[in-house]
């Protein structure tokens, strides 16, 4: 006989379903008289520090069709590498940058867009620098549990080549699935749920 540990179990996930917008972005689906603004619509303001960037992308299914009902959230450090979070103990983040964004895929094309700043360097657990990155979380109808991944930057080749996470991916040919493509002023980060180009997803 031993003492019981008494840990609780995490609540099981269920799909966000096709109507996730009603709860998370009601204005987007025409419910405009309940909340003034959908949360996560705006990450920056006039005083936000750092280089402004636009990130666009589309979530694709295993047949290469765009997922038009996805909801994408991002979480990132500010331009100096600090998170706007009470658990950030290393320093004060830019108060004019939320670090968190939420965007539903366009109902016709599936494309999402974030207006943000390029994140700074954040340390890995052992203190080594991680290359600038943005954490992504994707839910949709047919996704039973939210998928975590990361977007890295194509213009950070040296940092990416030394990144503690990118370098430990066994199948290095999959690393490009985590690196955005530069298209003019836009970073494009398409997410493939399945197939030859399947994005690397993390169990975090």
């Amino acid at each position: 006989m031993t003492q019981p540990l008494h840990y609780l179990k995490e609540t099981p996930s269920q799909t966000a379903g096709p109507y996730v917008h009603i709860g998370c972005t009601p204005n987007f689906t025409g419910i405009t008289n309940v909340y003034a603004e959908d949360l996560g619509t705006s990450m920056v303001n006039d005083q936000t520090e750092g280089a402004r960037i636009t990130v666009k992308g589309t979530v694709y299914d295993g047949m290469g069709a765009p997922v038009k009902d996805a909801l994408v959230e991002i979480w990132q450090a500010d331009a100096n590498g600090f998170y706007n979070s009470p658990s950030e103990m290393r320093g004060a983040a830019d108060p004019n940058f939320t670090g968190w964004g939420r965007c539903p895929g366009d109902m016709e094309t599936g494309e999402f867009t974030f207006e943000t700043v390029k994140p700074g360097i954040v340390p890995f657990k052992d203190g080594r620098p991680m290359a600038p990155h943005i954490t992504f979380w994707v839910v949709a109808r047919g996704i039973n549990i939210g998928l975590h991944t990361r977007m890295y930057f194509p213009d950070e080749e040296a940092a990416n080549n030394a990144d503690p996470i990118l370098t430990r991916i066994e199948h290095q040919q999959r690393v490009p699935t985590l690196i955005a493509k530069k298209e003019g002023d836009v970073y494009r980060f398409d997410i493939h749920l399945q197939g030859d180009q399947e994005t690397v997803f993390f169990d975090i």
Partner: protein, 246 residues
């Protein structure tokens, strides 16, 4: 702000045998939307340990009252009046304060107010179907709404969703991010539902079924269901550099 110490530990590993797998072919949409390669394990870095916080100033007075937050005439929606309440805890049993909960649901007839919804049940002019709130210092939350109806959906030829409310939850770290659905005690459709059955463990399914809570009903007014939500626990940092979190 609470005077509790800020915790900075990593989160417990997610129990993937308890959570639904990505590929569950009886829920057909999962077939082409499920990653087939193994997830890459990543013990939390500061990017996962931190997360956004939401202030009470971002939440309106009626945001958690679906009986009143949509109607512009003050008329009430049709349906069984219910209170849904509970706590957000982590796996250690520690209350999660300041957690943002967003919820959404169909109306009493099983119809969602959404641009792409086509079910023949009518919209209710006095019901929007969304609510949100932030847990108090002890992790408690509550909503007032109507009980949603079950509805048919195109999966099998004759599949029906049990009555349910969707919940989206933010804890203190982005790794805790969770979306789930709450079901109602006694609904015979629960165990027939392919989405419910994406969860392999019966005990895990039961964690999503809210019991009728007579103690929290309001006589001559509203029934009540209690739904506690458990987010991932944080590892202690006792034997690391800082002694926080214990």
């Amino acid at each position: 702000m609470s005077n509790k110490k800020v915790e900075t530990g990593a989160f417990y590993a997610r129990d993937r045998a308890w959570q639904p797998p990505a590929y569950t072919p009886t829920y057909k949409t999962s077939v082409l939307r499920s990653p087939r390669k193994a997830l890459l394990s990543l013990d939390n870095t500061v990017s996962e340990i931190t997360g956004p916080v939401f202030g009470h100033n971002q939440i309106g007075e009626l945001d958690n009252d679906l009986l009143l937050n949509f109607s512009e005439t003050g008329e009430l929606p049709v349906g069984e009046r219910i209170i849904v309440h509970g706590r957000v805890l982590d796996e250690r049993g520690v209350p999660v304060s300041g957690a943002l909960i967003e919820m959404w649901q169909a109306n009493a007839g099983g119809r969602y107010r959404h641009k792409k919804e086509t079910y023949l049940a009518p919209l209710d002019p006095n019901f929007g179907g969304c609510g949100r709130t932030i847990t108090d210092e002890n992790g408690f939350y509550s909503f007032r709404t109507v009980k949603p109806g079950p509805y048919p959906w195109p999966n099998g030829v004759n599949d029906w969703r049990p009555a349910h409310i969707h919940f989206s939850v933010f804890g203190n770290g982005f790794a805790q991010r969770l979306i789930t659905q709450m079901y109602f005690e006694g609904d015979p459709l629960i165990w027939k539902c392919p989405i419910v059955r994406s969860i392999p463990d019966e005990a895990a399914v039961k964690q999503l079924i809210a019991p009728l809570d007579m103690a929290s009903t309001i006589p001559m007014d509203s029934l009540s269901y209690k739904f506690d939500i458990v987010l991932r626990g944080r590892r202690s940092t006792l034997f690391e550099n800082r002694r926080e979190g214990n």
